[in-house]
């Protein structure tokens, strides 16, 4: 939608306190008292500077876009400093911004008709935006947080800006659903990691991930890989066997191919091509796998390559021990595996014996009749 002066509208939200804990060893800034501790330890705002860097990559479009944002340190300062046409919505208490401000800003920018929403922050900010706008609007993260387990960020602020420019110029049109994940900061401060999958944001698809432009691929990219994986898994399904379908977009396609709609973030039990239990908890899963032969179908969650123990804790050590390693079907698009850059897949179920059982090599289903042999470590 064109703005008043015929300009394209994009939104920008800066979470001014994101990233402040990192340099001073505080592992995130969820909660105002932590911000105070961070400031006392000498933390400086990071998110505004990083947002400015991303806007730098959009300078070529300055005459054609209008940036809608929130007041002061939530965006207005950097947008004006970068010399973009700027409209400021809403109101905040400067110096005391909260997650509620981020959520309200996202809703206001969506209502104002922005065609792309940029935000500068970390996993907590991504969660707030996901809660506010879901997958209704293309969103792109400018990496500025301490924790960035979510897959919604550009690899650098500059690259995020370039990606936004390509999207606005129509040079990339596709979007992909990217995981929003977060870990419990309090637990993280005590050296325990407990990551959850909170949902998905729609992110402009990096062309290289869609397809190696010059590599002569012609493979049709991520969507076709997902389809191939789903066809492979479903064509091998056996009657009378329970399939425990883990969370994520890769496994969701399996349900689509079967004509089923399960839960994106939960574990669904499929028997004879029907959903027997949706969003099953550990108790239901355990009861199922003790009653009948079962296979577990999982995908790699988030950017760190976790198979178990992040976002799918329902598939507990007891469930896994009962089903056995040989009945675990691992699925992932090739792009997801290559982005791990050789790091092994990880398991952290909470039970060292089960973790050890799961390590070794696994044949990942990466497409229709395609496998990648890959190590699993704990």
């Amino acid at each position: 939608m064109a703005g008043a002066a015929g300009r394209r509208r994009i939104g920008l939200i800066v979470n001014p306190i994101a990233g402040m804990g990192g340099r001073v060893g505080l592992k995130g800034t969820d909660g105002l008292d932590i911000v105070a501790r961070a400031v006392a330890k000498g933390a400086r705002p990071e998110a505004g500077r990083r947002a400015a860097e991303a806007l730098g990559s959009l300078a070529g479009l300055k005459d054609r876009i209008e940036v809608l944002t929130y007041p002061d340190e939530m965006g207005e300062h950097v947008v004006r400093a970068a010399g973009f046409a700027c409209s400021v919505l809403g109101s905040i208490r400067s110096g005391q911004t909260t997650p509620e401000d981020t959520r309200r800003a996202a809703q206001d920018l969506e209502a104002a008709g922005v065609e792309l929403l940029l935000f500068s922050g970390g996993d907590g900010t991504a969660r707030d935006i996901c809660a506010a706008v879901g997958d209704r609007l293309p969103v792109l993260g400018i990496p500025a947080g301490v924790k960035m387990h979510s897959a919604v960020f550009g690899i650098s602020p500059r690259r995020a800006g370039e990606l936004a420019a390509l999207y606005l110029e129509g040079k990339i049109r596709g979007t992909r659903e990217a995981e929003v994940m977060d870990i419990d900061e309090e637990a993280f401060r005590h050296e325990r990691v407990c990551a959850k999958l909170y949902g998905y944001l729609r992110v402009p698809a990096e062309p290289r991930l869609v397809q190696g432009v010059k590599a002569g691929g012609g493979g049709g990219g991520e969507a076709s890989a997902l389809r191939g994986i789903a066809l492979d898994v479903t064509s091998r399904m056996e009657p009378g066997v329970a399939y425990l379908i883990g969370p994520g977009t890769t496994t969701r396609e399996i349900l689509h191919v079967l004509g089923l709609s399960g839960t994106l973030l939960g574990v669904d039990v499929v028997v004879d091509r029907r959903i027997e239990a949706a969003d099953a908890d550990e108790r239901v899963l355990l009861e199922t796998v003790e009653r009948m032969p079962a296979r577990i179908v999982v995908s790699v969650i988030g950017g760190q390559g976790y198979l178990f123990g992040r976002g799918n804790q329902q598939l507990s050590p007891r469930v896994l021990a009962q089903v056995g390693k040989e009945n675990v079907i691992v699925t992932a698009t090739p792009g997801k595996i290559f982005s791990l850059r050789g790091q092994p897949l990880l398991v952290d179920t909470g039970d060292p014996d089960v973790d050890r059982m799961l390590t070794g090599y696994v044949q990942i289903v990466t497409g229709l009749k395609e496998r990648l042999v890959y190590p699993v470590a704990c």
Partner: protein, 518 residues
């Protein structure tokens, strides 16, 4: 470096040449075909009668109507706007094994005995070319250590597909066709080594490199089973690393009941040094147009020579050239053959050039080719790795053979200039755009030069100097690099057309349709 390198101020000829279809003027002709003589017409009737009625067009095809001088100018202009091995340095076009193709071999191919050869000539009249096929077969047997050779495949890919079909035929003949349905390859093998077995119906299992950059042997052990049909690998891989445990890989696959094929599309790193047979392989192929020097890069003509051990020879595509001590012939009566992969002799002119090239070099000369190519590559590596933005991703510090896949990842992180920006910029210095990477692209911001034995020390130093200059430019004036080419035939092209099929124009018909739609 030996002497000061002066970067050329290249400027392309820009003719702004219209498409040939747009030069068409109704009624113009390039050539008026003379009327056939009375006797011929009386005997054969009109030319049209030679075409069966069911195959005749109702409307003539929409061909351009252009007079001869306009056609000559059109193509001469196009040739002036083209970079090629004869006018520029094409070290960058790695994995393609670009090398100088001696002009004398082109003269051989233009001799009437070759150029006018008809596929349906009687065998007694083509003994010469059959003898050359047979002798070249013996050369390839010696170079590979295999027992029988087919020159039928017209490309490397077709040779690999023929190999995959042979694997299928072999297991079927042993009653294991259904069970053995997996082919194992490695991620840095050529992509045909996965694509061809997939086309032949196999499930493809891919191995990733270990911490040293070599294919992971533990992953191989985990992948092997009674479903294993074969191993299809390139060695040295696209990283330039030669798998030092290749014989062990082959042994493990054989123990599991599989066959082993090695892709020697480019054999420049091992010619005369390492043979497929000694590593234990059952089959291999050579892109004759690459290693054995035919002009290539314009999609043909090529020849993928497929070499196999005796137990697999019966499966080779027909025809195979045979000799009974007196006469050469094309043997079509091979009941176990996977069948035809193309008609008649194959691209026999490529075989002729191969024969001439091998004869001119001799056995020692072939070894020198490999030695020079590897030396050249290692010299280029020294020059390139001294450039701040260049790195090598897998197995850094290890010796490479004939090529290397480098990465501009550091430069991209620091300046935003990507490998594709550099690819466009380098043409401004009068050298051909480089090859980035095979699919899938897993090394970030890749480029893959391959300085074969044909390039001089000056050529190699010039190429490296251009890379160094662009690295410097990227730090001082990144927009200059990102907006390149500046002196080329065309400016920067919107590459998004490659991602959206509705924007791609493969035919004139579609070009017109897209133009009309604006």
């Amino acid at each position: 470096m030996s002497r000061e390198i002066k970067l050329r101020k290249y400027h392309a000829q820009v003719w702004d040449e219209p498409l040939l279809m747009d030069l068409s003027v109704e009624g113009q002709r390039g050539l008026l075909v003379p009327r056939a003589e009375e006797e011929i017409r009386a005997r054969y009737g009109s030319a049209q009668d030679l075409v069966p009625a069911s195959m005749r067009r109702r409307r003539p095809p929409d061909l351009p109507e252009v007079a001869q001088p306009q056609v000559v100018r059109h193509y001469t202009r196009l040739s002036q706007m083209t970079m090629g091995n004869d006018v520029s340095n094409d070290i960058g076009v790695g994995t393609c094994t670009m090398k100088y193709s001696p002009k004398v071999n082109e003269q051989l191919c233009s001799l009437p005995q070759m150029a006018d050869l008809h596929p349906l000539q009687d065998e007694s009249t083509v003994q010469g070319i059959l003898e050359i096929l047979y002798r070249t077969r013996d050369f390839i047997r010696e170079i590979s250590g295999m027992d029988e050779v087919s020159f039928q495949p017209s490309s490397g890919g077709q040779a690999v597909l023929a190999a995959a079909s042979i694997v299928r035929a072999y297991h079927k003949a042993r009653g294991e066709g259904k069970k053995r349905n997996q082919v194992i390859t490695t991620i840095f093998s050529h992509p045909v080594d996965a694509a061809c077995p997939a086309t032949a119906g196999f499930e493809v299992v891919t191995l990733m490199p270990d911490a040293n950059g070599y294919p992971d042997i533990e992953a191989l052990k985990a992948a092997l089973s009674d479903r294993t049909a074969a191993l299809f690998v390139t060695n040295p891989e696209d990283t330039g690393l030669y798998n030092p445990r290749i014989d062990e890989f082959v042994r493990l696959v054989h123990e599991a009941g599989g066959l082993c094929f090695t892709d020697q599309a480019n054999a420049n790193g091992v010619l005369g040094k390492a043979r497929a047979a000694e590593a234990g392989f059952d089959m291999c192929h050579f892109n004759l147009h690459k290693t054995f020097s035919s002009p290539h890069g314009g999609m043909g003509p090529g020849c993928g020579a497929l070499a196999v051990r005796e137990p697999l020879a019966k499966f080779l595509p027909v025809p195979v050239v045979a000799f009974d001590g007196k006469k050469y012939r094309l043997d079509y009566k091979r009941p176990h053959s996977i069948g035809k992969v193309r008609d008649f002799y194959g691209n026999v002119q490529v075989v002729l050039r191969t024969y001439a090239w091998i004869m001119s070099l001799g056995a020692k000369g072939l070894e020198t080719v490999a030695e020079t190519a590897v030396l050249n590559n290692n010299y280029l590596e020294k020059l390139l790795t001294a450039i701040p933005g260049v790195s090598i991703s897998y197995g850094p510090g290890r010796v490479r053979l004939d090529q290397i896949r480098y990465s501009w990842e550091k430069l991209t992180a620091e300046t935003g200039v990507t490998s594709e920006d550099i690819e466009r910029r380098m043409t401004d210095f009068g050298i051909q755009a480089y090859w980035t990477s095979h699919h899938p692209q897993i090394i970030p911001e890749p480029f893959t030069p391959e300085p074969t034995e044909s390039y001089s020390k000056d050529d190699i130093e010039y190429w490296a100097a251009v890379m160094r200059e662009i690295d410097r430019e990227a730090r001082q004036d990144p927009d200059r690099v990102k907006s390149a080419p500046h002196n080329g035939v065309t400016g920067k092209i919107d590459e998004s057309a490659m991602l959206f099929h509705e924007k791609c124009m493969f035919t004139y018909k579609k070009y017109k349709r897209i133009k009309q739609a604006g």
